[in-house]
């Protein structure tokens, strides 16, 4: 894994226009270099501390230097976390994330396709503006009415209560990113599909969707990350422990075992592992997608 991590991005870089290479590298940018490495230390030290501490025993933790790895690593903290219903919270998080991301990306893709292909119509133009405005609505500001709606729908304290608002708030950015990508599909391809007698519905799934895979992956990972890490919705929309998702479970776990630092940190590691895996798999697409998306 170590080698793929280092070589993969380098290969993409090499394909890009080579011009900055000379500009930036001609003189050693010492200020950038120093801050680059300094920032690496600032980022890595806490993460290193989390990982090594999670393998210590509680008594060992107080006795040893916090930055020295444990002499005899132990999985005791992990066992303790897993025995505290971790699996249940994990499954809840998984259901909420998949249950929200799949519909969110699907409906966003359909909307993005319609906006690009039929963008001159007045209705579709207003839909597009509505979604653009939606980017400015913070989730925090709407939680009280969401809470009210969820109660009235008798969905309070269910997983679906977290799924529905998560879908809604994933849509604006997804539509924006996907429609920007679909717009770059050459018009001739759509035209030839049409001449072959394909319906718009067929063109959507057989042409636009496969061609937009990079954007779909970016949007999927980004939404999964946001929803997996959401804390506010489970906080206000659930009350029973068996409906908790991981971030909320982390918080209550920390309240319960705050003295047991290794156990708390083991729970942090376990919560992050799935998203880290996703990152390793989709990293290239996510980073370049975000860079292209915002770096204009």
């Amino acid at each position: 894994m170590g080698t793929t991590l280092t070589t993969r991005p380098a290969r993409t870089r090499a394909q890009q226009p080579r011009h900055e290479r000379r500009v930036v590298a001609r003189h050693w940018n010492w200020l950038g270099g120093v801050s680059g490495w300094l920032w690496l230390v600032i980022v890595v030290v806490p993460i290193y501390w989390i990982v090594i501490t999670s393998f210590k025993t509680q008594s060992n933790y107080y006795a040893t230097n916090p930055l020295v790895p444990p002499g005899e690593p132990t999985l005791a903290s992990y066992r303790m976390v897993i025995e505290s219903d971790f699996v249940q919270y994990f499954v809840n998080s998984l259901i909420v994330t998949i249950g929200a991301v799949v519909p969110a990306v699907t409906v966003s893709f359909m909307a993005a396709f319609a906006i690009v292909r039929g963008g001159s119509g007045r209705f579709l133009r207003s839909v597009n503006s509505l979604f653009l405005m939606g980017l400015a609505i913070p989730l925090q500001a709407t939680v009280i009415p969401i809470y009210l709606i969820i109660i009235r729908l008798h969905l309070y304290d269910t997983l679906l209560a977290m799924i529905l608002p998560s879908i809604a708030f994933a849509i604006p950015l997804s539509v924006l990113v996907l429609s920007n990508f679909i717009r770059d599909v050459p018009k001739e391809l759509f035209e030839s599909m049409r001449l072959d007698g394909a319906t718009e519905w067929g063109t959507l799934w057989r042409l636009a969707f496969p061609l937009s895979r990079p954007a779909v992956v970016t949007v999927t990972i980004y939404n999964a990350l946001t929803i997996w890490n959401n804390f506010l919705l489970p906080l206000i929309l659930t009350q029973s422990p068996d409906k908790r998702t991981l971030p909320l479970a982390l918080w209550s776990f920390q309240g319960q075992y705050s003295i047991n630092v290794p156990a708390v940190l083991a729970s942090v590691v376990l919560t992050t592992l799935p998203i880290l895996t996703l990152y390793v798999v989709g990293r290239r697409q996510l980073l370049s997608g975000l860079m292209a998306g915002f770096g204009k």
């Binding site: 280092t6 380098a10 011009h19 900055e20 290479r21 500009v23 930036v24 590298a25 003189h27 680059g36 920032w39 600032i42 806490p46 969110a104 409906v107 359909m110 909307a111 319609a114 039929g118 963008g119 001159s120 119509g121 839909v127 509505l130 653009l132 400015a136 609505i137 913070p138 925090q140 500001a141 709407t142 939680v143 009280i144 009415p145 809470y147 529905l164 608002p165 849509i171 950015l173 990113v177 920007n180 717009r183 759509f190 718009e200 990350l225 890490n229 959401n230 804390f231 909320l248 982390l250 630092v261 919560t271 992050t272 990152y279 990293r283 980073l287 860079m291 915002f294 770096g295 204009k296």
Partner: protein, 308 residues
Amino acid sequence: MTALPTSHGRGAPQAGTRGARNGSLAWLTVPALLFFVGFGVVPLIGVLALSFTTWDGIGDIRFSGFDSWRAVLTDPGLPHALWVTFLIMALSWLVQTPASILLGVFLAGAQRYRALLSVLYFIPLLLSSAAIAITYKALLDPNFGLGAGLKIGLLTQDWLGRPVLAVSVVVFVVSWQFIPFHSLIYQGGVRQIPRSMYEAAELDGAGRIRKFFSITLPQLKYTMITSSTLVVVGSLTFFDLIFVLTAGGPGDATRVLALDMYKRGFQANLMGPASAIALILVFVGLALSLLLRRLGGGKSDTSQLEGA
């Protein structure tokens, strides 16, 4: 500086694309609209409506005119929450922007190890705010934290127990979490600066500092506006991080608007005043993003602001 490769209006649909038969496509947007209207637009209208009511979160909702607004606007807690919000916003902008530009320019270089660096930098962004807050709470604990373990007096402060320190910790943790994201944005911006501009400057004998201030920085203007908008508007919504890290304390030292709203609504069961604060949150966010767009040259080009 007329050559701005960064501004092309992609946010808006291309006018006049393809023929009239596209009217039949509108239904494809219906599912997305249903979700978005039901759980985005309706709640936004709902929060306005609820700010004119009295509701404890369980019982009946009663119309009560401007009572909630009067209660919120006369409460000294509001100016305080606004002040704390702006303080944290301003400080995190001051820390994040220069650092992200510096790192972004550095990462835009092509050496392999820089690519590895950006992979590592990105890790904090994968952790949930709750996880980050819990980690730092443990890390900074005056009795059991890193400082105590290393026996370094300087690090063994009551970090979250004193107002000034608590605000600084919040700003630091926010920067720790988001600088990687913003440096990625700047990295993308730097990549788009045409090489020819640097060549011309070199012919004129410009040094690298001169080039940075005369080419790189002005060319990053739109990137800077995008990134600053995200910093400023994003900092209005730091809820989970502060909720877990300090719960607004010590005292009310880190009680930002979003937290104030939550505490009034879901802890004190005053949903009316909490809705009023939620609306203030929306207005402040809109005002700030419009202001930033003005600063960016007053063009009504939404695609810049909206980023992607």
